[in-house]
């Protein structure tokens, strides 16, 4: 019988299975065990590492609030035989250790002419919706996708979260693993045995012939809602979840646009130099002839994330805005 797991537990299971398989897999971050140095109970971790210290006391540890040091240590450890999974908590905190990501992790293999590799995973919670304000709600994957040497993974479902995490741990390059905070308690069927989902292979979430929607992370579900509504109006959308923003599965996107002639990209990040603009421009460069109308990008605005629920609810793309975009794109094509 198909087993249902939360996105959070799916990640935890991936970590467990990989630590069990390979003692070189180590996991650390602030409160990754939780309670170290207190008189109370150990194991007050939050997120996917909760409880793992019992089975893996030598592979999982708490870190002081020293991201530059422990992310850098992950780089050094990765280059000398371990496969560290470091936890940033919120991706926003990449700010305090960005040099170690940008200049050390990403570049080491290239700078030393391939004589070392950096098989590390950096876990990072992202996204809007939890009323966390401007410094705890960012997407930021476009920034990491811009940086050569990094791989950027943005799973949208529990099954993908598990399979992509296993691939990330086994990969030879530094991987930034984006966990959407609003997906943690979403559920889905997740196979029990370990499995890999290859990087750079998109998932076709829904097939359709009128318009291609590329959606990332939490936006996949919004796109599905929009597609349902549009289907009722007789518009058939194809939804593609790239799964990994870098590498990007260009071919699956191109093939779809060749069929539909229309592209809407839905990206929770800010608009400028975004994943949406990246995909939009690639299509405009490489499958221009298939386009029967303008590409359309649906993103958050060029503004920090507001705290107020009323404002935050209007910030990220919604099913309604996606529907509108698809309709605008198609209306225009008919008019033309």
């Amino acid at each position: 019988m198909a087993r249902v797991l939360s996105y959070l537990d799916a990640i935890g299971e991936a970590l467990t299975q990989e630590m069990r398989r390979d003692p070189a897999v180590v996991v650390f971050g602030e409160d990754n065990i939780g309670g170290t140095g207190t008189n109370g109970k150990l194991g007050n971790a939050w997120g996917p590492t909760k409880g793992l210290h019992q089975e893996f006391p030598d592979q999982i540890f708490d870190a002081p609030i020293t991201e530059a040091a422990f992310v850098g240590a992950a780089v050094g450890a990765a280059a000398t035989g371990l496969r560290p999974v470091a936890d940033l908590l919120f991706v926003d905190f990449a700010g305090v250790c960005f040099d170690q990501i940008l200049n050390q992790a990403a570049k080491l293999r290239y700078m030393v002419g391939g004589k070392a590799s950096v098989p590390l995973v950096l876990r990072a919670m992202w996204g809007t919706g939890m009323r966390r304000g401007a410094q705890h709600s960012q997407a930021l994957y476009p920034i990491f996708a811009h940086i050569p040497g990094l791989k950027v993974v943005v799973p949208a479902s529990p099954a993908d979260a598990k399979g992509l995490m296993i691939t990330a741990i086994r990969d030879q390059d530094p991987v930034i693993f984006f966990e959407h905070k609003m997906l943690y308690f979403s559920h889905g069927v997740v196979p029990e045995e370990p499995y890999e989902i290859p990087f750079g292979k998109a998932r076709i979430v829904r097939e359709g012939g009128d318009c291609t929607i590329v959606a990332i992370g939490r936006m996949v579900a919004e796109a599905e809602t929009a597609a349902e509504q549009l289907a009722a109006d007789g518009v058939s959308c194809e939804i593609i979840d790239p799964r990994t923003v870098s590498p990007l599965d260009e071919e699956t996107i191109y093939a779809s646009v060749r069929r539909t002639g229309h592209l809407v990209v839905v990206d929770e990040s800010n608009p400028r130099c975004s994943a949406a603009s990246d995909i939009g421009s690639l299509v405009a460069q490489n499958v221009f002839d298939a386009l029967r109308g303008p590409v359309r990008m649906v993103t958050s605005p060029h503004a920090p994330t507001p705290f107020s629920p009323a404002l935050e609810d209007a910030y990220a793309p919604s099913a309604a805005r996606i529907s509108e975009a698809v309709q605008a794109v198609l209306r225009r094509a008919v008019a033309a």
Partner: protein, 330 residues
């Protein structure tokens, strides 16, 4: 407890003000705790209850135009620096009329008119800002002083270490107030500080540094007065490491404090409640009367009640606010 002759000498008015500040913080936090449990307040809220003597003691020696930069656990600093509690409460509720128009929330409460440069969602993220405000005062030739609040956990951040260096090299009028409340989330200081005092890190770069009893508002005030005087008179930075544990968990709705023994919390609340300690003392030495304290209690309660009431009934910010206060190119 310290000798508090200075405080007493300063007179009833000051004592009442200090009490009012501490009581306001406590009442604000207790009430936010309740309202949060009722799911009225959105977002991430970190309560300061238990540490009131630090904010109250430090800010009691600052003027309105001095600066403070605060942390994610910032309500106490904001109250002590004179921010309006109704504006704060509105902000926590994300409502129009909040101190930041609802755009900031608990983690970004600020009031530049009061020299409150903002809570901060990044550990030690506000420390360099305080150094910058101190630089500003120095360059503009005023005698303003800036205070950087941070936690024991934040003290492990590089930005703090660098700010210590910058402050001493540039001889900035800044005071670093490290609040050691025993924990960084669920991780204990005995682990993450490896048994060492943070004050040593100040001394190591040449900054006069002291460890202070953070439950004792008079001790904090005395140490802060010296530090602020040093800063104002061109003597450069000071570091104060104030020790006082928090009453609640790290973040509302997040932890059950399983990493602390229940007896730890009981003992904290019964023997190390800085508000009670203050009251006991001023009553014992008869510098204030029970009536005076009760009057403050009642006034504070009414003020917080009114703030919650107003916050509940306030309007949401207008959607157009989404795109104000930022350059939006599209």
């Amino acid at each position: 407890m310290t000798n508090h002759r200075d405080a007493v000498a300063a007179g009833r008015e000051l004592l009442i003000e200090i009490y009012r500040t501490m009581r306001t913080i406590r009442e604000f936090e207790d009430r936010v705790h309740t309202e949060f449990a009722g799911e009225d307040i959105p977002g991430a809220v970190h309560l300061y209850a238990g540490q009131e003597a630090i904010a109250a003691g430090v800010c009691s020696v600052l003027s309105d135009d001095d600066y403070i930069a605060s942390t994610h656990r910032g309500h106490g600093h904001a109250v002590a620096k004179g921010c309006d509690v109704t504006g704060m409460m509105l902000e926590l509720y994300g409502k129009s009329g909040g101190l930041c128009g609802g755009k900031g929330g608990s983690m970004h409460i600020a009031d530049f008119d009061r020299g409150m440069l903002g809570a901060n969602g990044v550990a030690a993220g506000g420390v360099p800002l305080a150094a910058g405000a101190a630089l500003s005062a120095k360059v503009r030739g005023t005698d303003q002083v800036a205070v950087a609040f941070l936690g024991d956990g934040g003290a492990n951040q590089g930005a703090f270490a660098e700010s210590l260096v910058l402050a001493v090299v540039w001889q900035l009028p800044v005071v670093f107030v490290v609040e050691d409340n025993g924990f960084a989330q669920a991780t204990g200081t005995s682990f993450h500080l490896a048994g060492k005092q943070i004050a040593l890190r100040g001394e190591a770069v040449g900054i006069p540094s002291r460890v202070v009893d953070g439950y004792d508002v008079f001790a904090v005030r005395q140490a802060a007065a010296e530090a602020v005087e040093r800063a104002r008179s061109g003597g450069g930075p000071t570091l104060l490491e104030c020790k006082a544990d928090r009453f609640y968990g790290h973040m509302e709705g997040w932890d059950q404090q399983a990493y602390r023994l229940e007896s730890e919390i009981d003992e904290l609340r019964s023997s190390h409640d800085c508000v009670k300690l203050f009251a006991d003392r001023v009553l014992a030495d008869e510098s204030l009367t029970a009536e005076e304290l009760s009057a403050v209690d009642a006034a504070v309660r009414a003020r917080i009640d009114a703030a919650v009431e107003e916050a509940r009934n306030a309007k949401e910010p207008d959607i157009s606010e989404l795109l104000t206060d930022v350059y939006a190119s599209y």
